[in-house]
């Protein structure tokens, strides 16, 4: 039996989804947290207790401030609320200070700042193309997208257990993407600049932004075949853009492998969705080939890709591959025994939902047998690494083997998804050329 079909403007399910996941985040307040917790507590202390000139010099703790200045100001404003919870956490010398009030404050700050993410998801859902024909609520693309984003497994365990502020940052990224999908390019550019000044890792996707904005915003008209009409160049727009994103072109040092993808949005932009596809490819490319990449960076590819996944069958197939493998690669982040059931249960929850909802949406199987076998192999890897190997005699002599196996196995899936995504992007570029002839 189904939920009553709501009217098109009835969005009451959205707060329910958002509030539900927020409750889940609240109940994880007392779970394990990593050293990142101390990192942020230290930054709260530095920004609150020291003058601005000393922020980037302070090194009492090993976790020195290594995010751009806007994030430092963000921590500074948080510290003003923190002093009402526990003043001791703002003392720089109180290394590894974890009073209950400190834990409560820091966890709540992540949960509350996620409101940016929730708002961004709502904007993305509004931009999703809707198929005609009444469906029950659970089958609508925008519902599925909202669920896939709000309840994303990676974001839940990285932000609300491991401890980071990715929800807030990805909210700004997704809002920027949503603005571009809605045609509000200046706002999108502004948001991206803000994002770059909060966390510099987003430089990896700067080429996508730079070229897209230059091509689609500064050149106001295309020729009939879609190629550049040089006469339509608008200096006014360029100045407007330049004054907002002066750092984009100059500072990008994205991997060269992204160049063909980036080139394609110059030659045939295919609108904001082409830009989004290129953004995902850049993010994934930088994950594959970048310098000092954290495993959490996979989220930079997975989250924006969710928007494409609910609109196209092929993308949904690649999405399932990438997401399942990418999320599983985050498992080593939570290595405590108490959190094992949580990560397994949440992984099952998200994977089950993404598979069944996308299968229903696109009516039919999205993966070929080989891909399905590979994904089932993840279960075997998990059992091997968490159950079998610790009981074997090699656990003490070669303790890193489970991590090695996990990384290598997941890299196959991620590389495969990258290649397929790249091919699909170039193929779109190719079909346009073909149409011309």
């Amino acid at each position: 039996s189904v939920m009553a079909t709501p009217r098109a403007d009835d969005w009451s399910w959205f707060p329910a989804l958002a509030l539900g996941v927020s409750f889940l985040k609240c109940i994880l307040i007392n779970a394990y947290h990593s050293t990142d917790f101390e990192v942020h507590r230290n930054w709260l202390a530095i920004t609150h207790s020291l003058p601005v000139s000393k922020w980037y010099h302070e090194n009492t703790s090993e976790w020195t401030l290594d995010y751009p200045p806007l994030f430092a100001w963000f921590e500074y404003s948080l510290s003003h609320v923190a002093q009402h919870f526990d003043k001791e956490m703002l003392v720089v010398q109180n290394l590894i200070y974890t009073s209950p009030a400190t834990i409560l404050f820091q966890r709540l700050s992540v949960i509350v700042t996620d409101i940016v993410f929730i708002y961004a998801v709502k904007e993305c859902c509004r931009s999703v193309r809707e198929e005609k024909g009444s469906k029950d609520l659970l089958g609508h693309p925008f519902f599925i997208l909202a669920a896939l984003l709000l309840w994303n497994f990676g974001l839940l365990i990285v932000d609300h257990i491991h401890f980071q502020y990715n929800g807030f940052l990805f909210g700004i990224l997704l809002l920027s993407v949503a603005r571009h999908l809605q045609g509000r390019h200046l706002e999108g550019a502004l948001l991206f600049t803000v994002l770059l000044n909060l966390k510099h890792i987003y430089l990896y996707i700067a080429p996508a932004y730079g070229i897209f904005l230059l091509r689609s915003y500064c050149f106001t008209k295309d020729n009939t075949d879609g190629s550049v009409r040089w006469s339509s160049f608008s200096p006014v727009r360029l100045v407007a853009l330049g004054s907002i994103v002066i750092s984009v072109g100059a500072l990008s040092f994205g991997p060269f492998i992204a160049m063909p993808a980036v080139l394609s949005i110059w030659c045939r932009p295919r609108g904001a969705r082409g830009f989004l596809r290129c953004l995902v490819v850049c993010a994934l490319g930088s994950f594959m080939f970048g310098w000092h990449v954290h495993e959490k960076a996979i989220l930079m590819a997975i989250l924006p890709f969710s928007i494409l996944a609910v609109e196209s069958r092929e993308d949904a197939g690649i999405f399932l591959m990438l997401t399942t493998t990418g999320h599983y690669s985050l498992f080593p982040l939570l290595f405590t025994a108490a959190e094992l059931p949580i990560k397994v249960l949440l992984m099952l929850l998200f994977t089950l939902y993404s598979f069944t909802s996308l299968k229903k949406l696109f009516r039919g199987s999205l993966l070929n047998p080989l891909e399905t076998t590979y994904l089932l192999g993840l279960v075997a890897v998990e059992i091997l690494c968490e159950v079998v190997y610790p009981l074997s005699p090699w656990q003490h002599t070669l303790p890193f083997v489970p991590l090695l196996v996990t990384s290598v196995y997941c890299s196959l899936g991620v590389s495969y998804s990258f290649i397929r995504l790249y091919v699909s992007l170039l193929r779109q570029h190719g079909t346009d050329k073909h149409k011309q002839l």
Binding site: S1, V2, S12, A16, L19, G20, F23, L24, C26, I27, L28, I29, N30, A31, L104, L138, G139, A337, A338, P341, I342, L345, L346, L348, L349, L352, Y353, T356, S357, K360
Partner: protein, 505 residues
């Protein structure tokens, strides 16, 4: 989406919430010398693992009954024995393992609760929601029952195994609802042999089955059914108590441990009549223990009589569910030596009413969680209490559209509606007590009292002020809802010819 995937998603979500609560503290954590219920369960594993059966319930040199002596029926003991066999023997070493607390041990204990829940309680809830509840709300009802905070906080926080006894009782209800009377009575007897508090539910089971026998005619099939049930009950009892049957002294001692009548009318603060009455009149000191016992017995019997008789006359599933509520709630309010955790016994059948009477059920369930607040505060479970209560309130009101179902017609007061209107009009109150505004006011008051219990220190002359306020406030809710549920049960006409034929069973 298909049913099975939505159900699996709900179960996974419910399990995640449960395990997340279990990451918190437990009863008596780090509090020597007695610790708490967690240590009691560990101690029972120690006793059953190391000592022979005939010593389990006796005071011997090896088994000091003053230190968490076994006071549950044999099935609990067997379950403890099973758990003890599965783990590191150091954790149950006789005497030496007292007060043992470690990361691994906590994980193991929490895991046993989860496994028991997954094997017994959750399947029963699935079967109930999908085969016995009516309307199009099956999945929503399922999720709401899974999210009931009281059971989660007690089993996974404080630490107990209520999901086993309540789960078996629920199996009994479900199986009886599907028409298999013998198996249903078997399930209930097992439940009774796990925790003796299930006696609160026993009268409705008895009246329902007896009523069914009467309906089938005592001169034929009814008598046969009665005999079958009686034999099942006796045989199951015998099997459960098998090791103790050899010696009548054993049986007496176990019974003595299960029903400690020497312990007084009530202990600590509990939201029932005697504790609340004690605020005005010190009945504990005025009356002798025997008088207290008779008083309590009489009031309890009077309170359960109308409901039981009605069930005997009309043994349908709907009447059965209501009788379970009324009987267990009456026992809670008027009986002897009631603990605040016993509110879970009426809470289970109220969960079964979520689909039919959403607003009163949600109100009761929230009040029941609130009534245990002092216990949660002692255990360090404030954050899970707040989060699970808010989540339950939000989800149940939203998913079940509770506020759309509080018109007088939907509240099923029947012919008593007019009577109530006449009475309350004379006193000038609103004719409908169960409505949105009163509900909001009540929830706000609960939130306010919770906040005060945490943030404020009580005055020196009244150190128990906040627990007392909490229990009296809860008591008033329970009393009012007992009256309401009784009216609903009695108001239903005896003949099943109704306009919508929904409840004919």
């Amino acid at each position: 989406m298909e049913n099975w995937s939505l159900v699996s998603i709900c179960v996974l979500f419910g399990l995640t919430a449960r395990w997340a609560v279990s990451l918190n503290s437990y009863s008596g954590a780090g509090k020597p010398p007695m610790f708490g219920d967690y240590e009691a369960q560990r101690h029972w594993q120690e006793v059953t693992y190391n000592l022979p059966v005939h010593e389990w319930y006796f005071n011997t040199t090896d088994n000091n009954l003053n230190y968490w002596g076994l006071d549950y029926p044999p099935l609990t003991a067997y379950h403890s024995l099973l758990c003890a066999h599965l783990i590191n023997p150091d954790w149950v070493e006789l005497h030496a393992s007292r007060g043992h607390e470690s990361y691994g041990h906590k994980l193991f204990m929490r895991a046993t609760v989860l496994v028991a829940d997954l094997l017994i309680y959750i399947p029963a809830v699935v079967l109930y929601s999908f085969y016995l509840s009516e309307g199009s709300n099956k999945k929503k009802v399922f999720l709401c029952i899974l999210l009931y905070p009281g059971l989660i906080l007690i089993d996974y926080g404080h630490f107990q195994y209520n999901s086993i006894s309540l789960g078996l009782a629920l199996w009994g209800v479900v199986v009886l609802g599907l028409g298999w009377d013998v198996l249903g009575s078997l399930a209930f007897v097992l439940s009774l042999n796990y925790k003796q508090m299930e006696l609160y539910h026993s009268l409705p089971f008895f009246c329902y089955l007896l009523g069914k026998c009467f309906k089938q005619g005592l001169a034929g099939r009814g008598l046969f059914l009665l005999v079958k049930i009686a034999v099942t009950v006796l045989v199951t009892f015998a099997l459960c108590w098998l090791p103790f049957l050899s010696d009548p002294g054993q049986i007496l001692q176990v019974v003595h441990r299960l029903f400690p009548v020497g312990r007084g009318l009530f202990e600590d603060k509990v939201a029932n009549t005697w504790c609340s009455l004690n605020v005005l009149i010190k009945i504990k000191t005025i009356l002798s223990t025997d008088t207290q016992l008779y008083f309590s017995l009489t009031t309890t019997l009077l309170a359960i009589l109308p409901s039981s008789i009605k069930l005997l006359m009309k043994p349908t599933l709907w009447q059965f569910k209501l009788a379970l509520v009324n009987s267990s709630l009456a026992f809670f309010l008027f009986s002897f030596q009631v603990h605040e955790k016993s509110i879970l016994l009426p809470a289970l059948p109220v969960c079964l009413l979520l689909n039919d009477l959403p607003l009163p059920a949600i109100w009761f369930l929230q009040a029941s969680t609130f009534s245990m607040l002092p216990l949660f505060l002692k255990d360090g479970l404030l954050v899970p209490y707040v989060v699970t209560s808010l989540a339950f309130l939000f989800f149940s009101i939203y998913l079940l559209s509770a506020f759309e179902h509080c018109s007088e017609d939907k509240l099923r007061l029947g012919p008593y509606r007019r009577l109530l209107i006449c009475i309350v009009r004379r006193y000038g109150y609103l004719s409908n007590c169960i409505n949105k505004d009163h509900f909001y006011f009540s929830i706000t008051a609960m939130a306010g009292l919770s906040f005060m219990s945490v943030a404020l220190a009580p005055p020196d002359q009244l150190p128990d002020l906040f627990p007392l306020l909490v229990s009296v406030f809860s008591y008033l809710h329970f009393l009012g809802l007992l009256l309401y549920f009784n009216i609903v049960q009695i108001a239903e006409p005896l003949q099943s010819v109704r306009k919508n034929q929904k409840k004919s069973n």
